[in-house]
Each structure stands twice: as C-alpha cells, then as structure tokens.
C-alpha cells in the first residue's frame, strides 16, 4: 500500500439510538478500511445495521462513539455544513428508490450536484452530458424521470452520482426496485466504473448482486461478522 490514508476508515464505531431499555445499537464497535479503487458489498439481513453504516459513510449520520476518517478527516468533528461539503465534493449517492427530482429532465437531475458546487452553466451542461453518455443515456437527456424505465432512472441516478467525479460512490440497494435483467445491467455498469478506478461501496442483501464485488463485509446485529473475499456458496437470507 501507498502512504495515502484509506478513503474510508471506521475505528470502533457505534451508533446508538434511544436510551435505557429502548436503546438500540445499530452499529456496535464496527471497524474496517476501504482503500481507493476497491469495490465492496456490505451485506446482512434487515436490521443488521448495514443501512446505518451507509448513512455514516455518506456523512448523513454521525457515529455516537468511535472515529470515522474520510480521507484522513475525522467526520465526527465536522459541522453539518462541512459534512454537506464532503458529500458534495467527494461522495456520490445511488439509492434504491432512485430519488430523482420529479418533473425535472434527466440532464437537470444530473446537473444538481454541480449547481451546489457553483460550476458555471455551460461547463455544468457539458459535464452532465458526459456523465449521461457514460451510462448510455445521452439520447434521453431531455426526458423527465416519469418517461424513463426503472433501469433508466437508476442509470440517471448513477450519472448524477459520478458527475462531480467523487472519491466514492455509495449505492444503497441499487437494484432493489429492478428486475433481474435490469439489475445485472446496473451491476455491470457499476463494475465498469470500478474498473475505471472508482471506489464503490454498495449495500445489498442479494447474494447474486453482491457477487459483482470482490470484497464482502457481512454484518449481523450491528457487528461485522466477516470481512473479506466471499466464501463460495455463502448465502444471506
């Protein structure tokens, strides 16, 4: 390994909701590192804490205890607006429900992160078109999400995630709302991005989707129970 710190480093992170008897330990002493260029799948049954882990990685949530270093920066010490800047400049999100702006053309959805970055209009349009071309939707730029299929909507979302050239793409159940064929298309797309050097962290409970990722982090009850290359035949609920 080089001297550069890992993109993501969890050090003994806990995320606790509620207090006393109602206390829920969504994350309970989780530690792992993700290096630049990795493609990992965080797996586990529902309630295992994988979504909470995703929210913490995406700087949408902060750990109750432990240290989260993003590119060497301790996120726990950042203000709300500083975390917004980390998301804006270094993280691209892909959600299960696509989360595109309704009644807004694909191109404008893709431009959204660039608006908050303050990229001038012409450059914004060009970068967004490049991102759309990369996911194979250059001809659909002017279409609203309601005119696109689920698979196309998710590809627009991926274009939006990668348009700002982030350090990491976080994908939360990216194929959860898609059929088998579309799911495989999306996974191949993510795989391609990873081959081009993009770091990808994906949460999923589907083994066949997780199979696209070389490294699996398996979670149960807020703890990491296994971290590494998947065992052949290892299945999750």
């Amino acid at each position: 390994m080089q001297n550069a710190p890992p993109v993501i480093e969890f050090r003994d992170i806990s995320r606790i909701y509620g207090t006393g008897a109602a206390e829920v330990r969504a994350l309970d002493g989780v530690s792992f590192k993700v290096s630049r260029g990795e493609f990992i799948a965080i797996m586990g049954p529902s309630g295992s804490g994988k979504s909470t882990a995703m929210n913490v990685i995406g700087c949408l949530d902060t750990p109750t205890s432990g240290e989260y270093l993003f590119d060497g920066v301790n996120v726990a010490n950042l203000t709300r607006d500083q975390r917004a800047l980390i998301r804006r400049d270094f993280i691209g999100f892909v959600f299960q429900g696509f989360n595109l702006l309704a009644r807004t053309p694909a191109i404008e959805n893709v431009e959204l992160p660039l608006i908050y970055k303050g990229v001038p209009r012409a450059a914004r349009r060009r970068q967004a078109m490049e991102a759309l071309a990369r996911v194979g939707l250059a001809d659909w730029a002017a279409h609203d999400p309601s005119e696109l299929s689920g698979g196309q909507q998710q590809r627009v979302a991926i274009a939006r995630a990668l348009v700002g050239n982030p350090e990491v793409i976080l994908a939360d159940e990216p194929t959860g709302n898609l059929d088998q064929t579309r799911s495989n298309e999306i996974m191949k797309l993510l795989e391609g991005l990873n081959h081009d050097g993009m770091t990808i962290v994906m949460v999923t409970h589907e083994t066949d989707m997780a199979a696209y990722a070389p490294r699996h982090i398996m979670m149960v009850d807020g703890k990491v129970v296994r971290d590494g290359v998947p065992e052949p035949g290892a299945g999750v609920s």
């Binding site: 995406g58 709300r80 607006d81 917004a84 998301r87 989360n99 608006i115 908050y116 970055k117 209009r121």
Partner: protein
C-alpha cells in the same frame, strides 16, 4: 447559483400557478388598497389645495358664529350669532390698510327657469368687489353697475354651467331668466372654473347684487359671509388680526367675551380639509395593513405546505451536497418572489383603481413614486418575514428522514 435559485423559485411558483395566485391574493388586495387610497387621498388633497390656490392664498373669509366648517349660507350655525351687514364689508375694506377689498356674500339654493328649461343651482348675492377679491372675471357682458347695486336691480351674472344648461350655444346677455319668483336680466357670464373639490360644481351659480338678494330672495338685510382680499405687503396673520379687532369693535364685544364670528384664511381651510382626508386615509390604510398581514400569513401557510410536499426533494438536495443555507435561501427566495408578485400585481391594480376613480370623481390622478416603491419593498419584507419560518424548517430537515419521506 443566484440565478439558479431565482429560476428554481419561479419554476416552483409556476408549477402551482393557481395555488400561487390564490396565495398572493391577500397581498394583492392589501397593496392595491394602500396604493389606491394613498393615490386618491393625494389627488383629492391636491385638488383642494389647487382649488384654494385658484381662489388665492391671500383671501380671508369672515363669518358670523363660532369657528368650524358648517355648510355655507342660511341654515349654518353662523345664524345663532348676529349676521353681518353690507356696512361691515364696507368698513373692513375702508378702515383696514391690510385689506385691499372686501365683498359681502350670501347664497341660497334656487331653481333657475328659462322657458321650459328648469335647473337647480345656487343664487348668490354679492357685489362687483367679489370678482376682484376671488379673482373670478366676467368674460362675457359686464359686471354690476354701482346704481344696480345700490337700488337692488334685478340683473344677474351666470356661472358657465348655468349658461350652458339654459342657453346652450345662444347668447344669454340681454335675455331674462327666472330665479324662483324673481325675474332678472342676464348681464354677464363668469369665466369657467371647472369642477371643484369632491365633485362640487363651482360654475353652477347665478350672481345677483347683494341688495337684490336681500330684498327679493332673503327678505332681510343679512350678510352671511364676507370675502376679504389682503393688500399687498401684508401677511394673512395681520389681516386676520385687523379684521378681528375691527369686528369686535363694530359688534361691541367686550374684553371678557369670546368672538361671535370667525375669520380664516384659505390655508386654514385647506389644512382642515386635508386633515379630514388624512384621517380617512389613515383609517383605511390600517385596514389595508391588516389585509397585508393576513396575506403574509397565507404565504407562510402555503410555504409550510410546500416544504412538507417537497420534503423528499429537500432530502435529495441535502444528500447531493446542498448546505442548510442554500436550502433556506431557495425557500426564502420563493416566498419573497410570491409576495413580490402579489405586490406588483397589487400596485398595478391599485393604480388602475385610483386612475378610474380619480377620473370619475374629477380629481387629479396623483401617483406617488415613493408610495409605489414603499409598497414594493414592503411586500418583499412580508415575504422575508413570513417566509423565514418555513424556510428555516426546510433547512433544518434531517436528510435521512427527508429521503425516507413518502
């Protein structure tokens, strides 16, 4: 970024065009009311001031009774005090150096008849000095002769409205008309004055000599009012003080008694009238302010609905890196744009209402730039004040919760 924020706000407003329109209605009505009222108030007070200026600022009015704006002529509260006589007017003119001329004046409603034409108008008794004092020349025919004034001859001078209504295009001079039971010969026509304050037509009048008025119409020797013109180089205050001294003396009012007459200059009358207009404008503006407040609450309400509806959108924006300030600005700009829209429409509507009403009331249309700018800025302020709370709520949303929102 600023361009995008405004574009986004305009888009959000346009998407819910009907809702946006209904929301801004309160602001529209409030601003329109303020603009219309202030513009009309300004117009009517301009009108009053203009009329009085036309009469001349150096004109003093003396009436029996106590001070106040009663209706003129018989029946006013001036009657409770002893009326003036023609001799009082003569004395004011001849005894006081501060007064150049003084004319007696008394008026009464009358029906003027020529053949089958019948109109309602005012008959006023006065004398030749009146034309000079109030600067109202006879433009056709002639004024009264001294002899006509002294003996109380049945001659009359017509106001323009009376001339037009009775004679149309024909020459009235030398013709006879009837004023109630009095038959009199037309000897002249007054210059046209145009519409007066509050729709009063000053040209609807027939002047006859004061003595004719007393003998043939009033049946007494009373003079209900005296117009006095200031001599050059004297102030109104001097003129008023001199008249008061003289009249107290002539009416034998002792040191410890109050005046039973009053003298005013046109500035006092003007301020009295515009005072009334000002109170009315103030009261109605208070109603308008309440309407603006209600309008503002309407905007706050619809912005809160909008924030709730767009929770997921806000979540997406936060996730892709919008700061709280950027989200807040988006909704604040939308609220300000809504209320400014209402303000601009309200300003337009108010000006149209004021223009139409001013035309109908025959008063000047006096739009005031500072009032228009004030209304514009105030509606922006309403947007900021009532948009702040919903915008802050949007900015404080938790992105995880917001993204989960259905």
């Amino acid at each position: 970024m600023i361009g995008e924020t405004f574009g986004l706000a305009a888009q959000a407003i346009a998407r819910n065009a009907l809702r946006s329109f209904l929301t801004t209605l309160g602001i529209v009505i409030g601003v329109a009311a303020v603009i219309a009222l202030v513009t009309l108030g300004q117009g009517s007070s301009d009108e009053v001031t203009g009329e009085l200026e036309k009469l001349g600022t150096d004109i003093l009015m003396v009436r029996p009774g106590v001070s106040g704006m009663g209706p003129s002529g018989p029946g006013s509260r001036g009657l409770s005090a002893e009326p003036f006589t023609i001799a009082d007017a003569d004395a004011i003119e001849s005894d006081l150096v501060s007064i150049a001329a003084a004319a007696p004046y008394g008026t009464q409603p009358v029906t003027a008849i020529l053949g089958s034409e019948t109109i309602s108008t005012q008959v006023a008794g006065t004398d030749n000095r009146y034309f000079d004092v109030v600067d109202w020349p006879v433009v056709l025919g002639r004024g009264f002769t001294n002899a006509e004034e002294t003996v109380g001859q049945s001659v009359c001078i017509l106001g323009e409205t009376v001339r037009k209504d009775l004679f149309g295009g024909a020459d009235p001079v030398g013709q006879k008309i009837r004023l109630g039971s009095l038959s009199c010969e037309v000897i002249g026509v007054l210059e046209e004055k145009g519409a007066g304050s509050f729709g009063m037509d000053q040209d609807s009048v027939v002047l006859i000599p004061m003595r004719t008025m007393q003998k043939r119409i009033l049946g007494n020797r009373d003079v209900s009012m005296i117009y006095a013109g200031l001599a050059e180089g004297f102030t109104t205050a001097q003129g008023l003080a001199d008249i008061e001294d003289l009249m107290r003396d002539r009416r034998r009012i002792t040191e410890d008694e109050e005046d039973d007459f009053y003298a005013m200059d046109m500035a006092q009358i003007a301020s009295m009238l515009s005072g009334i207009t000002g109170v009315l404008t103030g009261l109605l503006s208070a109603v308008a302010a309440v309407s603006l407040l209600v309008g503002g609450i309407g905007i706050m309400n619809i912005m809160l609905v909008s924030v709730t509806e767009r929770t997921r959108e806000i979540g997406i924006r936060l996730a892709v890196g919008a700061t709280a300030g950027q989200v807040m600005m988006q909704f604040l700009v939308e609220a300000v744009m809504l209320s400014l829209l209402g303000g601009v429409v309200g300003i337009g509507l108010g000006l149209v209402i004021a223009a139409v009403t001013a035309f109908n009331m025959a008063i000047p249309f006096a739009p005031n730039a500072s009032v228009v700018i004030g209304a514009f800025l105030f509606s922006a302020l309403v947007g900021v004040v009532f948009g702040y709370f919903p915008a802050r709520r949007a900015a404080r949303l938790d992105p995880i919760e917001a993204l989960r929102h259905q």
